[in-house]
Each structure stands twice: as C-alpha cells, then as structure tokens.
C-alpha cells in the first residue's frame, strides 16, 4: 500500500479550506463501493460541504471536467478501453485512491486469470466475436501510480470518510492493517474456528468490516484482503487440521481478493496438490 501526503488541503493551502474537487470513476465492478459514499446518509451533507463533487455519474448527471483533487477509483482493469481510461484518470487526478477489492486486487472477476480468457468468453457470450477484453482482470496499481488503497468488498463507509477527512487536513489516513480477529475480540464474538471448527479467513484478513460474518457464525470470507504480513501457510495448515481438502482451501483463498499476492500464492500451492 502506498500513501502520500499530497493532500488536497496541502495543495489548496492550509488556512482557508477550499473545497477540493472530488471525482468518482468506475471500471470493472458492481458499483457497490461507490454506493458506500451515497450510503453515508448521515454524513452526506457534510461531505458535500467539505468537497465539491465534480464528477460522480452514479449520483448526478452533472459532470465537470478535470483536473480533480481527489479521484476515487472503483473497479479492476479488464478491457483495453479501461487501460486507456485509467491512464487519463491518473493524468486528471492529484490524488488517486483505489477503492474496493476490484480496484485493489482485481476482484472476484480475477478468477478468470486462472483460465484461458477465450474459453471463458465462449462459455459466457453467444457472440464472442463482439467481446474485446484483456487476458486478466487486474488491480489499478498494476497500471498507474496509486496514492492510497481502501480495501473491502464493499468498502466500509466509515473508512471512506476517514480517508476524505485525512485528505482534508493533509495527514495520512489512519486505518488498521491488523487482522479481523482484533475486531471479533473487541466485539466479543466467540471464535468460530476454535469453538465450531469453521474455517475462517479472519486470521490472515485485514480488519475493516467489523467482523460481520463471524458475528453471524460464519467464517470470514476475506473481503478486506491480506492483512499486514499474513501467514497464509500456517492458516492453510490449520484448515487441513480442520479436515478441509485442497480444493476447499483453494476456494477459501481464491475469492474477492484471490488475486492479491499473499492469497494467490497459497491457492496456487494447494491447487498443485489438489486431485
């Protein structure tokens, strides 16, 4: 993860706070992450007081041209056209923030990265000849410089607000990079893996969701991607102890953030030994 202090506030001078211009862009994605901004209902008026929403197609047909102080970029790069567009977005944006698992890890659509893309297209589309696509679905940071990555599938609105607030005052966003286990314990959730033998990605997944799934007696799905220094091999080994076979373990590590390196290495390793 990379972050800079080239905050909009700094760019605009520290004193009188000019409203930085915010743009929201979408690539290959489901729109759920940008919806998190609209979902910040209680804070939405304060957001529009603090930033000028210059380009946000999901919220308004009014679209101002760049350059923008802050670009929130949702989605992965999946087509040649997107490859051109993201470079233009980068040129127009002072600070570029990738939001969500698609933008930071390639998303669930990156499952196709393990297959031949032509086979996938033929499987899905009646007229594959109309489809123009890249071989892989990849994160934004594979193509342009990203200033900050906000994890999640979808992102958490409180974390999004923290990033905007940090940019407004010109400091680094303060978001946890430790495991989901921290959130389980703070919340008083009894560990699903220890007490029920349920395979849980929590011990290698970055916090941020508030431990939603374990709170409902489900194992963590890894929506927030790899935590700081994750020990995937140790968790994979524990999954084996719980009785999971290799294909199960591949599926657990290979989901929304499956193409993120620490998860990909584990699923690839278990795929090699899978029957």
């Amino acid at each position: 993860m990379n972050a800079t202090e080239t905050g909009a506030a700094k760019a605009n001078g520290a004193g009188a706070r000019a409203r930085p211009r915010l743009a929201v862009f979408k690539f290959a994605s489901c729109d759920g992450c940008q919806l998190s901004l609209l979902d910040a209902e209680d804070e939405l008026l304060a957001v529009t007081d603090a930033v000028e929403i210059a380009y946000f197609v999901e919220a308004s047909r009014h679209a101002d041209p760049g350059p923008y102080d802050i670009a929130l970029v949702e989605g992965s790069i999946s087509t040649p056209e997107q490859l051109r567009q993201i470079k233009e977005v980068r040129r127009q944006a002072r600070v570029l923030i990738a939001i969500g698992a698609c933008a930071t890890a390639g998303g669930i659509q990156a499952l196709r990265n393990w297959q031949k893309v032509d086979d996938t297209i033929r499987m899905v589309y009646a007229h594959p000849e109309y489809i123009e696509t890249l071989d892989t679905s990849s994160p934004i940071s594979d193509h342009v410089q990203v200033d900050f990555e906000l994890r999640g599938c979808p992102i958490n609105k409180h974390q999004l607000l923290e990033v905007i607030i940090a940019l407004l005052v010109g400091r680094l966003p303060r978001l946890p990079t430790y495991s989901v286990c921290v959130e389980c314990k703070r919340r008083g959730v009894t560990c699903v893996m220890v007490a029920q033998g349920i395979a849980c990605m929590g011990p290698v997944t970055q916090a941020g969701c508030g431990a939603i799934c374990p709170a409902y007696a489900r194992g963590c799905y890894g929506c927030y991607g790899p935590m700081e220094a994750p020990n995937g091999p140790a968790l994979g080994h524990q999954f084996e102890q719980l009785g999971l076979d290799a294909p199960d373990i591949v599926r657990l590590f290979r989901s929304f953030n499956g193409y993120a390196d620490p998860f990909r290495l584990i699923s690839d390793k278990y795929e090699e030994v899978a029957p």
Partner: protein
C-alpha cells in the same frame, strides 16, 4: 438464620437455591450482575438477570485451538472452566471514549467522559482471573498516572469468586501459584459442592450481603470436602509450566532457534493478547468529523503483535513475527517481573485454547528449556 453475621475469613454454608437471594441482594444494592451464561457456542461472561441465566448443567472442553460446549450429567451451576474472554472487557473495555474536543474560536473545549462508571457485581470470578485483576491493578493504578476509568470500575465492583474444581486441559494456574483456590481480593468466594455452596467471606461488603441471605456456619465435613475438591483440582491441571529460573532462561535464549519455529506457525492475529486477562496495551486515536471542528478521542485495545504497535520514527523495531512473539512471551514471563514485581501470566490457558493454530506457551517454554 443466626443473628450473628459471619466474620471476614469465616466459612458459611448456603443452600444452592439461596444463591438467588445473594443475587437479589446485590441487585437491590444497585449492582448490575455480570456472570457466566450460555451463549450460542460458548459459556460467556455477560449481563445476567438471575440464577436462571447461569449455565446450569453445562460445561466445556478445551484444548489447544479447540473449545466445545458440553452438556453435563448433573446440575452444576459453575461446572465449566473459563469463558473465552476475561473480565478485562468489563473493567477495561475494548473501545472507550476518553473525551471530545470541540473547537471554540481560537481554542478548544474538552468534554471529558463524565458518565459514572458502571457498578458491576462480577459473578464466578476464578482464582486465575482474580490474580489477573490484581496484576492489572498494579499496571493501571500504581505509579503517577492511575487510569481513572479503570480505578472507578474496580472500586465499584463486587467480586463473587468461585473456586475452580473444573480445571481444563489448557489450565496451569497451579504452576503459576494463582489457583485453583482463590486468593485475596474477593468479597465472597463460593465453592460448589453437590448440595450446597460453601461461602468464604472476604470483605465487609461480602459480610453485609451474606447477612441478608439464609446461612449457617460451614461444617467440618463440608470444609473437608472443599479442601479435597481443590486438592483434586490442583492435581488435574491439563498443562504444567516449569517456572524455575524462568526470567533467566528466556533472557539467555533470545536467539534460540525455537523462536523461528514458533514464527512459522504464528499468525500474528493478536488473539492471545486479547484473551489474556493481564495484557493491557492500548492505543489512543482521534476520530474527527468532516468539519474539522470536533473530534472524539478513543482508547482501543492494541497488541504487540500488530505492526503499527512497534512502528517508531524511522521504522519498525519488531518487523518479524519472530521478534513479536518473543517480545510477548518474554514480557509475559520475564520482564513483567522486573517491571511490575510479578509474572504477567496466571496460567488461565486462554492463549492456548484461543490461538487459532494452537500455539502453547507451556510447550514453547519447554522446547527452549529442552535445548539450551
């Protein structure tokens, strides 16, 4: 009921059904009851209304990385070992608002957390947990800057301890000299026998509570049964930790190759530190609003296993899991003694049970000892 109230240090006997009266007296005195209760997958400490909320007839089985609820074939009230999390979460909550700062022209206004501390009656405190509270008291209350919120919660709390006759497979309080019999610091301490509770009076407050409950002096036979049950419990600890020469053993083996072996298994997930009843590290963060005019200052549990914890100007002083695990274990078992005058471990075994991969500190110490 005799007219005399039992003295501090005396043993009384109460009928099992009269525990309900003890709870009622506590509630009349304004206490919120916190005690063991049957959760979906574990016996947890939570707010309870009365005796019916206790996990009567339920127990637990614990092993490294495994916990299972088990129905018992009797109606024991306290027939389990330990809840997943300790009383720490009530005395030193995981997330606590410290104050709110609001900009007022050129200066700012501080609104402290003025809410009175809750008045908890802690029901079912085990010996190891009572020792852990004494250790946290030294951490939070000695020195120049006692933690006001913790102090208020501790001073207002009523401790109804319960002697442990059900040590689990991951327990080793006997090795740490912390149990199974509760030490000082309780108001009342129960020992559960088949038909009755034997009650030891630990404080004037405990005496007052007991005096409003039907009681009689405990008989010699009952006291003998208590002694026998506790002696048996001491013999049935699932784990053992050889503490001889312990600080030196660890200090002299800071480069032992076993630290690397642990690091291969350790997830750095922080579970051990969070379930530990003595781990006390926290972080303080500000949560500003979008206007920049107001911020809440929060204290949250932190852990020496998180990278940010050991990030200082210029880099991270414990960049690898090896150094983080070593820091935790050597602090807990060795430098804690230098710092606070006692071991930081009470032998409750939670770090063993609730480690998702079952890392066992008693085994890690033994491995280092075996190959010096």
């Amino acid at each position: 009921m005799p007219d005399l109230t039992p003295n501090i240090g005396a043993f009384a006997s109460i009928a099992k059904e009269d525990l309900a009266r003890v709870f009622q007296v506590l509630q009349e005195m304004g206490y919120t009851l916190l005690g063991p209760t049957l959760g979906e997958t574990a016996i947890v400490y939570d707010e309870i209304e009365g005796v019916d909320d206790l996990p009567i007839g339920w127990g637990d089985e614990q092993e490294a990385a495994t916990y299972r609820l088990r129905p018992r074939n009797d109606t024991a009230y306290f027939g389990y070992t330990l809840a997943p999390q300790s009383w720490k979460r009530f005395l030193y909550p995981p997330v606590q608002k410290l104050l709110t700062l609001t900009v007022q022209g050129e200066t700012f206004e501080i609104d402290g957390n003025a809410e009175p501390a809750p008045r908890y009656a802690l029901i079912g405190v085990r010996a190891c947990e009572l020792r852990a509270m004494a250790i946290q008291d030294r951490v939070f209350l000695s020195g120049h800057f006692p933690v006001p919120d913790y102090r208020a919660r501790r001073q207002r709390a009523f401790v109804l301890a319960v002697n442990c006759t059900e040590p689990g497979n991951t327990c080793f309080c006997a090795s740490m000299g912390a149990g199974p019999r509760v030490g000082p610091g309780f108001d009342l301490a129960l020992t559960e026998l088949e038909e009755i509770f034997v009650v030891e009076v630990g404080s004037e407050l405990g005496r007052q509570v007991l005096s409003q409950t039907p009681w009689r002096p405990a008989g010699a036979f009952e006291l003998q049964n208590v002694r026998r049950a506790l002696a048996e419990a001491e013999q049935h600890m699932g784990r053992h930790l050889d503490t001889s020469d312990l600080p030196d053993l660890l200090y002299q083996n800071l480069e032992h190759r076993h630290w690397d072996q642990v690091a291969q298994r350790c997830l750095s997930c922080t579970n051990c530190t969070q379930v530990c009843p003595t781990c006390f590290c926290s972080d303080v963060l500000d949560q500003p609003d979008l206007t920049g005019q107001r911020t809440d200052r929060l204290r949250v549990w932190d852990s020496c296993f998180s990278l940010a914890f050991s990030h200082v100007h210029g880099g991270n002083i414990r960049p690898h899991t090896r150094s983080r695990y070593r820091q935790w274990l050597t602090h807990k078992l060795a430098s804690w003694i230098d710092q606070f005058g006692s071991s930081g471990c009470v032998g409750c075994g939670r770090c063993i049970t609730w480690c998702p991969v079952g890392i066992d500190l008693t085994a890690e110490v033994a491995a280092i000892r075996a190959e010096v």
